[in-house]
């Protein structure tokens, strides 16, 4: 440190002692008051409100929760799914962190007299704050340009957004002005390395207007510090008291911490089903406390909406709007609490139908894309299912075509109402034995309703059987004792029917001491694996793609080359997003000589739903565009010959989509097992 710079640092210390510290102490007292205000408002308007919801257990596995919280907060791992918004938010977050860290270190240095001359840590902290400020300005600039110039459809701007951007910019710019003015008016030589440790502030010193006398300079310093500190106080105060989106600063980390650690997409059963007086959620407070926290943690970013197939096909559903409308309802119902009143739990305000329209509720395909994209783990499907349960079980209000489906599932154990007795007719020609005939098997093959009754999908079951025979696996089926897994009933909201079907199946499987189940349907796979455990059914469940991939890895299947074919794999929602099975199907396809695998634009965790999930397979699509046709358009754009699927719902919906688009000559929809079996034939077959 050059000795001629000591007067500069001494003069800086003087300015800080005489002006900055008194202001800091004053605002320190105010911030103490703000802290008390924060605790009061948090308890009154948030905590008490959440406690009005139903109980939920979300505090187990503390270490796992902390790990996720740190990874998402500091690493922004879920934000980077979209690069520009992710970068924008990362800059703002890291910049703010650096600013506060830098200020804290420098304050400590001042208070401990370590600034004449300053230690290296002080200079580094100075640079940290300056870089932090630039990062926040950059991130904020991107945010403003994106929101107000490019105007993406998923962002609806509110006055609250304008306020936070304007105040944020004022705080940043006045922060630089404070520092540069302080440096400009102090006596002594400006250090030569000022441009290294405080580049922005040093540059600004050259355009500062200096007063002619010291008292006037001091007055101007007071002015500059106050116009920096006051906006900061206003911003913090506003964030505490209002329902600003800035509250995500504390609500989002809370939501990330308390997120559900249960299997994705596994719906919760209705507790005490037989004794319960109501089912589902009619009132906002019939949701759990965690679901109420979800509503408050939503920052209105719109990522869910941008990936929702229902919204993209112009249905009334927007996951963002569902959450925001429920949030508004929650705040309106919760207002009496703030003023010392109590909430009337019963009201005429019904959330399904009035707050969230029925068209929106029935449009959901339960593809989980919304919660997959949400940076703070907010699911909208669990609120939708609660509202569906209320409509179905309490008011019998559901699409008319579903009535027949319920009746068929109840009487014939399949959605089509076809006689149970012919469920396993497809297997008779292949000599497949039922467990009643031979219970000593390695695994139970559970084909599901589509393979049992739908002609197109029976071929898939037959392909699977041929492969199982080829590798010498001893398997059996339940035959006519097999019932529908119950997934459509559960997803539509008929928990009673689902429970009946599930318990029936579990009892049958336990009777035959089933340990391992192979299924070709992801809906059955998800239900048997992740949801039957809720009713005492604990089985090892594998999907055909996992099974076939294992066989290929073990070299138990020898493939022959097929005609050159470009194939795009369509990720089934229930296999991909629900159960993280993305690679096994791709490895299977890549291992077939002759297949050139291409990826659709929306693939893996961003895959576009076929439109058949959530019970929508059994409902007419009256509104907007057809989701399956939109998916076919994406495949046509890629120019592939074959769309490979691993789900009978997807196969059916996409086949219908191909026919609707009139491109049967160009594109075919085939199950993975069909493609694989073609390659396994003794004579290479044409696809």
């Amino acid at each position: 440190m050059h000795s001629s710079h000591l007067p500069f640092w001494a003069a800086q210390q003087l300015v800080i002692d005489e002006i900055f510290l008194p202001i800091l102490i004053g605002f320190g007292v105010i911030f103490l008051g703000l802290t008390a205000l924060f605790i009061f408002f948090f308890w009154r308007t948030h905590y008490r409100l959440w406690l009005l919801g139903k109980p939920d257990r979300c505090s187990d596995q503390v270490l796992k929760r902390l790990k996720t919280l740190l990874a998402v907060t500091f690493g922004h791992v879920r934000f980077w799914k979209e690069s520009l918004p992710g970068a924008m938010h990362f800059f703002i977050f890291i910049g703010t962190l650096l600013i506060f860290l830098g200020k804290g270190i420098r304050l400590f240095s001042f208070l401990t007299g370590l600034t004449i001359p300053p230690q290296t840590i002080y200079l580094v902290a100075s640079l940290m704050s300056e870089i932090g400020g630039l990062l926040v300005l950059l991130g904020g600039g991107i945010a403003v340009v994106r929101r107000y110039a490019f105007k993406p459809s998923r962002l609806d701007s509110k006055p609250d957004d304008k306020l936070k951007y304007v105040l944020g910019f004022i705080i940043l710019i006045t922060g630089y002005l404070v520092k540069s003015y302080r440096m400009a008016i102090t006596e002594g030589t400006l250090p030569t390395d000022s441009y290294v440790w405080a580049p922005v502030s040093t540059a600004l010193t050259n355009i500062m207007f200096i007063q002619t006398s010291e008292p006037l300079n001091d007055l101007l310093v007071w002015h500059r510090v106050l116009i920096h500190a006051i906006p900061a106080t206003i911003l913090v105060g506003y964030m505490i008291v209002s329902h600003s989106s800035l509250q995500h600063l504390f609500l989002s980390p809370l939501n990330i911490y308390f997120r559900s650690l249960k299997q994705k997409g596994a719906l919760n059963p209705i507790p005490n089903f037989e004794e319960a007086e109501t089912y589902g959620a009619k009132e906002i407070f019939e949701l759990t406390w965690k679901q109420l926290l979800d509503l408050e943690a939503c920052t209105n970013c719109g990522r869910c909406q941008d990936h929702c197939p229902a919204h993209l096909s112009q249905k009334p559903l927007s996951p963002k709007k569902v959450i925001q409308d429920l949030k508004t309802n929650l705040h309106q119902r919760g207002r009496p609490l703030l003023w010392g009143g109590s909430i009337q739990k019963e009201s005429n305000n019904s959330i399904p139908g009035e707050v969230v329209s029925e068209d929106s509720l029935w449009a959901c395909t339960f593809c989980l894309n919304c919660s997959e994209q949400c940076p703070v783990f907010i699911p909208s499907y669990d609120k939708i299912i609660e509202m569906r349960r209320y409509l179905v079980l309490m008011e019998a209000r559901y699409p008319s075509e579903v009535r027949e489906v319920f009746r068929n599932m109840e009487r014939k154990s399949n959605p089509w109402g076809i006689e149970k007795g012919i469920r396993s007719d497809w297997a008779k020609d292949w000599g497949v034995k039922t467990l009643a005939e031979d219970p000593e098997v390695e695994l139970l093959y559970y084909p599901g309703c589509f393979k049992g009754f739908d002609d197109r999908n029976k071929k898939v079951a037959i392909s699977m059987v041929r492969i199982l025979r080829r590798v010498g696996v001893k398997f059996g089926i339940l035959g006519t004792e097999e019932g529908c897994c119950g997934d459509p009933a559960r997803r539509i909201g008929n928990e009673y029917l689902y429970k009946m079907l599930a318990e029936g199946n579990i009892e049958t499987m336990k009777r035959y001491r089933v340990k391992k189940i192979l299924t070709t349907c992801p809906h059955c796979y998800n239900t048997l694996k992740n949801e039957y455990t809720q009713f005492g059914g604990n089985f090892e469940v594998i999907h055909q793609t996992e099974f076939l991939n294992d066989l290929i890895q073990q070299n138990r299947l020898k493939m022959r080359e097929i005609d050159p074919t470009t194939v795009a794999y369509h990720d089934s929602c229930y296999l991909g997003r629900f159960n993280n099975i993305y690679e096994p199907p791709r490895r299977i396809l890549s291992s077939i000589p002759g297949i050139q695998l291409k990826e659709m634009e929306r693939s893996h965790h961003r895959s576009f739903c076929c439109g058949g999930g959530g019970g929508r397979m059994w409902m007419e699509e009256h509104l907007g565009k057809k989701i399956n046709e939109m998916r076919i358009d994406q495949a046509i754009k890629l120019g592939v010959h074959v769309i490979a699927t691993a789900c009978p719902y997807c196969t059916t919906m996409l086949t219908d989509g191909v026919k609707a688009r009139g491109v049967e000559e160009k594109v075919r929809v085939l199950d993975i097992s069909e493609l694989l079996e073609t390659s396994l034939a003794d004579e290479p077959k044409k696809i």
Binding site: H2, S4, H5, F8, A11, P159, D160, K162, L163, V166, L167, I170, I173, T174, M183, A184, I185, T186, E187, G188, T189, L190, P191, T192, S194, Y195, T205, N206, M208, F209, I210, Q211, T212, L216, L219, L220, I227, I230, P231, I234, L235, G237, Y238, V241, S242, H243, S244, H331, R335, L338, W339
Partner: protein, 100 residues
């Protein structure tokens, strides 16, 4: 005012400003002062705007009925005009007059 020492960029900037100072007329100096005051007023009024907007939004969140919105807007706008006048008057009086 802190003087630069052995800093080329600082020497350059100061020199440039001194040249500008010598060349510019009094009228231009006054114009630059007006520009500087205008910038300060914009910053201050932006702060006041945010404060009033925050107040309005907070009152709505706390239960103020929408029928009072127009009255509130009128009151805040009037207050804003008074504050703007205050700021302009004081800045004209107290703002430094010359470039260093």
């Amino acid at each position: 005012m802190a003087e630069p020492d052995h800093c080329f960029i600082c020497y350059f900037a100061i020199g440039l400003l001194q040249v500008v100072n010598a060349l510019v007329s009094e009228e231009l100096k006054m114009s630059l002062r007006v520009v500087a005051i205008a910038i300060e007023v914009i910053i201050l009024m932006a702060m006041i705007y945010c404060f009033f907007l925050g107040l309005k939004l907070t009152l709505s969140d706390l239960g103020l009925q929408p029928r009072y919105d127009r009255f509130l807007k009128l009151v805040l706008t009037t207050l804003g005009i008074f504050i703007l006048t205050f700021f302009i008057a004081h800045l004209i009086l107290f703002y430094p007059g010359i470039i260093p």
